[in-house]
Amino acid sequence: MNEINLKVKIGNLELKNPVLVASGTFGYGTESADFFDLNQLGGIITKSLSLRPKMGNPPQRIAETPSGMLNAIGLANVGVEKFIEEKLPLLKKIDTKIIVNIAASTIEEYVECVRILDKEEIDAFEINVSCPNVKEGGLEFGRSISKVAEITNKVVASTNKPVIIKLTPNVSFISEFAKVAKNEGATAVSAINTFVGMAVNVYTRKPKLSHITGGLSGPAIRPLALAKVFEIVQNVDIPVIGIGGITNFEDALEFLIVGAKAIQVGTHNFVDPSSPVKIINGIEDYLKKQNLKDVNEIIGSLQLS
């Protein structure tokens, strides 16, 4: 009877706990199996998939920055077909929700990817309209209200599975994008993808990344991410999955208290691969110590006065 409930619901998608791992920071889901029991996760969001395989950008793809890092991987991935053949069978063995992230360079490609994957045993889609590191698609879509609306509309029409739109913070008012995602039928939004950033080697006077700019992630962006999540939950009635520099249970709780229904651990998977399970345990301990029985009591419990 002293069980603590960690289950949360995002639309019809029920998660055993609110801790997911973010796209692009957990490979195809099984690489971290040496470090902890993957069945403990609330959900796994795969590396972004495109219709055809992508090689990604040449080196240097990453650079360390204060309390974070820049990346310009360029959506390197095996493509939808190989994912279904080789990666998905392993993912399906894990007792957790499998959310497939899709990145495309045309609206038609998003729809085609979703149509193909819709027949598979996956639990939801996360639509990446916010990658800062590709020439086509990515931010060009994510910064346009009408494009985000059109992509959401067409993807939602192509599947009965929940559709989560992953938003970019590189806009003036992120809540306007969350609003169109909701209006076009998205189940939830993930906030946020990375901030566009840059670093220069002063000795060669060259950009550190071959792509010149990259996406900034890690603890450096956590307060920025939290403010974006706050902006959305204050203005739009849509479930938000919070992401941005989460490293421990307290970081995760900040997002939940502000109103995120769940969170994603991203860059910290590189630094401490077992951190998602530490965060799950940390949230449970916190609830016990606060004499709370349900994580939902914490969600949106921000005290503003």
């Binding site: 040496d34 990604g56 590189f270």
Partner: protein, 254 residues
């Protein structure tokens, strides 16, 4: 299998002003480690520096392993100042390691600067099986590290010790003089221009050659996709951390 575990510093040796050899103790990180593999060390429990730092296994003996590094940035500064007894969160063993076909009589190690790092362990493993020759190139005599190495020949850029010139030229001279009896395999580790020169040399003399490559990386086990190396036929990339760091010179662009 990879492990994420705490390894304790049990010894520190200052080899030169800036070069340290630190010994750690951990059964998990040593029992299956192979020469050419590496560990990824969490330097700080805070967020600065944030990313782990990768280091080749320099040597492994029982349940201890050694890391060799130059004090260069914030990460190595912290590692260098850690007292004996302190513990670090380390992931390993990572990467593929040198391959172990024994179809040769002479193992030639070619190291540029701190590129000597993986060779004491390889020397230990190959010692009773092969003739070992080690060629070290360094800027000056102050940067020469010979810990754990056998049959060492040295070149320096300023001629302050050994051959005045680069280490690949030094090896070329010996290959031209035909001093090696039997079949040869070259193992290289060092800066990119040295690896490139070694690739050309190995092609010219038709010698099997494996090199240890480097690229900026975060996770060290393939999930961040941050460390690509281009395939020789331009068909795509492999990952230095997972597919490497050891590659045959014919396989990749150097």
């Amino acid at each position: 299998m990879m492990f994420q575990t705490f390894a304790q510093v049990i010894d520190k040796k200052i080899l030169t002003d800036q070069i340290l050899l630190v010994t750690f103790k951990s059964e998990e990180l040593t029992k299956d480690a192979k020469p050419g593999q590496f560990v990824n060390v969490r330097i700080s429990e805070t967020c600065y520096p944030y990313l782990r730092r990768p280091f080749s296994y320099c040597d492994v003996e029982g349940d201890t392993f050694k890391l060799l590094f130059t004090i260069f940035g914030q990460g190595t500064k912290i590692l260098a100042s850690a007292p004996v007894g302190s513990k670090f969160d380390v992931i390993g063993p990572l990467g593929n390691g040198f391959s172990f076909n024994y179809d040769y009589d002479n193992a030639i190690f070619v190291a540029g600067g701190l590129g000597v790092a993986p060779f004491p362990f390889l020397t230990r493993v190959l010692s009773n099986k092969k003739n070992i020759y080690t060629y070290i190139g360094a800027k000056t005599k102050d940067f020469v590290v010979t810990y754990g190495l056998k049959n060492v020949k040295i070149s320096t850029d300023d001629g302050s010790i050994g051959f005045n010139g680069n280490v690949v030229e030094l090896l070329r001279n010996d290959l031209e003089k035909n001093i090696f009896d039997g079949k040869i395999k070259i193992f290289g580790c060092g800066p990119a221009p040295m690896l490139k020169a070694l690739k050309l040399l190995s092609e010219e003399f038709d010698i099997n050659c494996e090199v240890s490559t480097e690229e900026a990386m975060a996770c060290g086990f393939g999930i961040c996709q941050g460390c690509p190396i281009e395939l020789a036929d331009s068909s795509g990339f492999k990952l230095v951390c997972k597919d490497g760091p050891i590659f045959n010179v014919k396989e990749v662009k150097l």
